[in-house]
Symmetry: C2
Subunit: 711 residues, 2 copies
């Protein structure tokens, strides 16, 4: 599209000086009557231009019969017409120079082939005007009092303003999040539903919010990404601006993926790739739907934890234990307070410090003495042994809700560490009061645990744009330095694959590509000596699974290689139906743990790196980790340590430990191949890579390259 600059249009859309409401009704109870009522109610101070040929005035405003009659080019327009009429209206809006148009109607891309054609017509009608939607619920900009929406969620609730902004690919979910958050006192700056994303998409909105001064935390409800690269750039901008991004994405199950695709025609992609991609973008992934409110609410308080050590303070033992258990399951640590902290808590209670030496710290004895509670909060916020504090609000607070809220809000004001509250009884008014006063408060123990985990995660730094060439292992080619013209295309044979690995600095088992049995024996004697043994493998691009055609022999004595090689070639020729191109003679692989490394191009998401252990570990237990390139040394180390099979590298059952530095270098070299080849690399696999005490070596591998055109 050749529309106006996206960010300029978004600026006009989010804070317009003038808004055209096309198809406005004078009846505010109708859906088409809502937007003007909402604009007025939420204090929009710009010009509102209703367009309706059958009304002279709406809500005290002059109504224009046609778009062409408007007194100027509106910054934003909200189109309330049905799908059929909307296309014409958008063309007219474009003709007068409208900045951006919101089309609420469904019946476009989500509605079969006819709808897709109508959506294409809508795009064309928009011309230089940018489009939000169609099939959207619009924009709710609470920070500036600009509501361009017809969602019923705006009907019923007080809407607190806060530092969280939401972009949702579903309008219904936007309404759900807004109403739920409002009920618990969690405030939003802006909420935008992108609907069918015929033009403006979640990546555009993310980029807008990254530089939006009213937005401190960004929440995303995703069904699928249409432009992963643009999304990644926008996520980088958000990270650079110090704004955490939290995403809830459906499509984690087959049923959900189908539903997401049919809902707004979102782009498919396996959830595992999305997971790796969002991680690479520095996005925190929300697991439960409620987390999409809870985690941003915790982050919006502005304090991050330096570690995972949490203190739980309670005046009701049962709920304290429940919260501690949920935190423990989430991998948080609950160390006891040190002696000085225990003493400080115990003193006003008149009990021995030992009675306050546990975690949860249980001050049930305090009854409803607020000064004791406050002193305990202060002591635990000062404790050097804890990175965050979670306080249980029990049923004693019901009788005097302000007491708990006052104590927590006062403590929160001066706190450096995160302080959150778990409200044990049903007490929505206490929950909302705490959230409104800046104390993130939750009514589920699992929500507290998720929030504390997010607070303890490393603050979003800018994810690496590309790997620092200085971190490449010796021998690896640098990104962009590849003479791609010299690469073959299609499926490489074993020897070619090994040669390519070696070219990027991956250590490979020494071998020789030969054609005849006689050459094989000569090579074997050279590689292993007359007393040694070698591995024989058939070498032919047409044969991907060598073992299946009897094309592999291990431990062949060097002196018997000619005979074995001849038998192998005959066997493969009989099985495959053609004479293979030749053989690969390899040294026997060194002892060590067996790993699998894989690279796979995942379209616009980039190239994924897979690491796992060989044999049953990967085949049966699926113990693999997936990351998007680029990866750095620290990430590779962390990734290896995170595999369940990690003990296999540390010297399992008396085996010597593997050379971890060599293994990390080999993985980085393999990854550098993926970076350098970019879209030329369809897939590559090393299976197995032996990792032993004396280093590592790729023993077998496969590479599939795309033709030059893809480069």
């Amino acid at each position: 599209m050749t529309g106006m600059a996206v960010q300029d249009a978004l600026a006009r859309l989010m804070k317009p000086r003038s808004v055209a409401v096309v198809g406005a009704s004078a009846d505010p109870s109708k859906l088409t009557g809502r937007p003007i009522a909402y604009l007025q109610r939420h204090g929009f101070d710009g010009a509102i231009w209703p367009v309706n040929p059958r009304a002279a005035e709406i809500g005290g405003l002059r109504c224009y019969p046609r778009i062409a009659d408007l007194p100027g080019a509106p910054d934003a327009a909200i189109v309330l017409l049905g799908a059929g009429q909307a296309v014409g209206a958008v063309a007219e809006l474009s003709a007068i120079g409208t900045g951006a148009a919101i089309v609420l109607a469904g019946g476009f891309g989500e509605a079969g082939a006819d709808g897709a054609a109508r959506q294409q017509a809508l795009r064309e009608a928009a011309g230089r005007t940018r489009l939000l939607g169609p099939n959207t619920i619009g924009v709710v900009n609470l920070a500036d009092g600009v509501v361009l929406s017809a969602t019923g969620a705006l009907e019923l609730h007080e809407l607190p303003v806060g530092g969280i902004s939401l972009v949702s690919q579903s309008g219904g979910i936007l309404g759900s999040v807004l109403s739920r958050a409002a009920a618990r006192g969690v405030g939003f700056a802006r909420l935008v539903a992108t609907g069918n994303e015929a033009d403006l998409d979640v990546a555009d909105l993310l980029a807008h919010l990254a530089s939006d001064p009213a937005t401190r935390v960004i929440a995303l409800y995703l069904e699928g990404l249409r432009r992963p690269e643009a999304f990644r750039d926008a996520a980088r901008a958000a990270a650079a601006a110090g704004k955490p991004v939290v995403a809830f994405k459906i499509g984690r199950s087959e049923a959900g993926t189908r539903a997401a695709i049919s809902h707004t025609g979102a782009m498919a992609g396996t959830d595992r790739i999305y997971d790796a991609f969002l991680r690479a973008c520095g996005v925190i992934r929300a697991e439960r739907f409620a987390d999409l409110i809870d985690i941003p609410a915790a982050l919006a308080a502005g304090r991050r934890a330096r570690g995972r050590r949490v203190a739980v303070l309670t005046s009701t033992g049962g709920a304290g234990a429940l919260l501690a258990d949920a935190a423990g399951i989430a991998g948080l640590d609950l160390p006891p307070p040190d002696a000085a902290t225990s003493a400080r808590i115990a003193a006003p209670l008149g009990v021995a410090p030992e009675e306050m030496a546990g975690n949860p710290v249980d001050v049930t004895l305090a009854g409803v003495k607020p000064e004791v509670f406050q002193a305990a909060i202060a002591a635990l916020l000062d404790s050097a042994d804890h990175d965050a504090l979670a306080v249980v609000v029990g049923s004693s607070a019901l009788a005097n809700p302000d007491l708990a809220a006052d104590a927590l809000a006062a403590a929160q004001r001066d706190a450096v560490k995160p302080l959150i509250a778990y409200v044990s009884p049903h007490a929505p008014q206490i929950l909302a009061a705490l959230n409104r006063r800046g104390v993130p408060a939750f009514d589920q123990p699992e929500a507290c645990a998720a929030a504390l985990s997010a607070l303890a995660a490393a603050p979003a730094g800018a994810p690496p744009a590309a790997r620092d060439p200085g971190t490449l292992p010796p021998g690896a080619l640098q990104s962009g330095t590849l003479p791609s013209g010299t690469l073959p295309s299609g499926t490489l044979d074993e020897a070619e694959s090994q040669a390519l690995f070696a070219r990027f600095g991956v250590p490979v088992v020494e071998g020789a590509a030969i054609r005849t049995p006689e050459e094989a024996e000569a090579a074997a004697l050279r590689l292993a000596g007359p007393e040694g043994r070698v591995v024989l493998k058939v070498r032919d691009r047409r044969i991907a699974h060598k073992s299946d055609v009897g094309g592999v022999r291990l431990g062949v004595p060097a002196g018997a290689v000619a005979a074995e090689a001849g038998a192998l070639l005959a066997r493969v020729a009989a099985q495959a139906g053609f004479a293979p191109a030749g053989l690969l003679v390899q040294r026997m692989a060194p002892p060590g743990a067996e790993l699998i490394l894989g690279l796979r191009r995942e379209g616009a998401f980039g190239t994924a790196l897979l690491i796992g252990f060989g044999g049953v570990a990967t085949e049966i237990f699926g113990d693999t980790a997936l990351r998007m390139l680029p990866v750095g040394q620290a990430e590779v180390r962390e990734l290896l340590a995170g595999l369940r099979g990690a003990p296999l590298l540390a010297g399992h059952r008396g085996a010597p430990p593997a050379d971890m530095a060599a293994l990390t270098d080999a993985i980085l070299a393999f990854a550098s191949m993926g970076e350098a080849l970019g879209p030329r690399l369809v897939e590559a696999e090393i299976n197995p890579l032996f990792a032993g005490p004396q280093g590592v070596a790729a023993a077998d591998g496969l590479v599939v390259l795309a033709g030059d055109a893809a480069g």
Copy 2:
């Protein structure tokens, strides 16, 4: 204790004709003023006898100065005094023949050594009177309007009556569950907090509720079980009465376990054992705290699903996709409706059946036409392709909450299948209205998924009391037939262990226990023939880890056994510092997948059976399953199929598949050993058990027996 029969006392406690309120205050705003106010407010129609030397009348009732002055023996008493005075009061209550006394005060078993002594004094003071507590919040019997509690949760909410009863080991949690459930319209019959369980415990209450006509579903909040056998019996009684039991248990993390123990001194035990034990008791385990309300609420509607096929009906696409995704993650199936059902839904909408052929079924087009929605609900409840229906209530319902509730409640009345609702916007009034009208309604997609999973679980049948002897594999001894006097005690050596396995019908690798190298060679020639090979193992009760002292040799040629055996004995003697008792000569093990079987006595929980695959599968990946004995054939098959390593038995990578019937029989035979030996068996392990195409054989094993006294 020699108190009165527990169930008689509980019947008096739960529905008393007279209640003494000891330490009652005339000020209803005080904690000690609440119980009489609550009794009166909730319509208790028996006699209330306040006891307070400083008041003549409380709440219009005559107040008695001392317990001895009461006009009779109360069925129940609630003691509102502090820990010190409570002991004396309970003694006086016992003296006049009180049925059961509730002691609210803390400061007993949960409060160190002094508290434990005071708790013991309290028990002794109670005599024939049964005790609830101390450190409890009491009894809330909504079905009969008998409230013997001081919980603040009773202060603030309307409390709907329903078919769920709760037993909680934490009083605070009881208040939390009660207030949360009430706010969402979920009704309870009875709620009891057992506190420190000095006398009456969760097992007693579970047994009471199993035969309570007002209770249809039982919810449990557990910190630990003091009497697992009694709990199991009570759970069986509930299952026999057709009442599902749902338990949320903390102690799933180390921090939570510590907190639970310090809270009420609950019995420790690993969560894995609890998990196996609760499963063996037929108890549904709730994963999230909210599930403890949500799953019982779904079950209380009285309909169970015959399978896991769920239809989702929505009028808001985004929330439908969200719900479908959560259901898919929980392992539910979402098949599309058949052509007839699609046509039935499409007809009133005037669209092609193909547009209603997905799942979720999205009737957004219907707008707010209730008749279309109702027709779709009816069609999906009739669909042969679905076992349950989940309906999304969107924001359009906010404008007219009754509409959705009416349609769903009407459909629910006639439904055979479960029907549940997911309420997408914040709409507590709709949620509560639906629940009150018998339609289980939830505000989290994950809650819907958990509820649907529970509805699809096999209805609780009575768990097996003991295995049917007819199902024992041939050769296995039957439970109770063991001549235990003939058993050794302590750690058995390899040969003794193998002999014991064989005695119970577990196939073992054939072998011979001998003493000298010469005997070994003779045995080897007999077992394997002159050309065969054997395994040599040291045999001595003092040597648990044979490999560590060089005590195992595999593949020894029969003719070389004498020499190898001599060397082995010398090596072990040098390593161990004593001459070993002898050798075990075994045939070479047959080829097959390697499994590990274990039995372990877990105190009063019974004996646990562990099954896993050998090597890295168990050591690294922890791919093991744990069940409490007894287990049946179907359970063993299901358990094997549920292991991630199951493909290893089906013929992984070209290996022939294992003889599953022989494997199942061997596991049942091993389990029968655990059943027959009962507490005599401390632990037993077979590692490895080879499972191949020609059958199975235990190749190595260990048994530890307790002395006769434990039998």
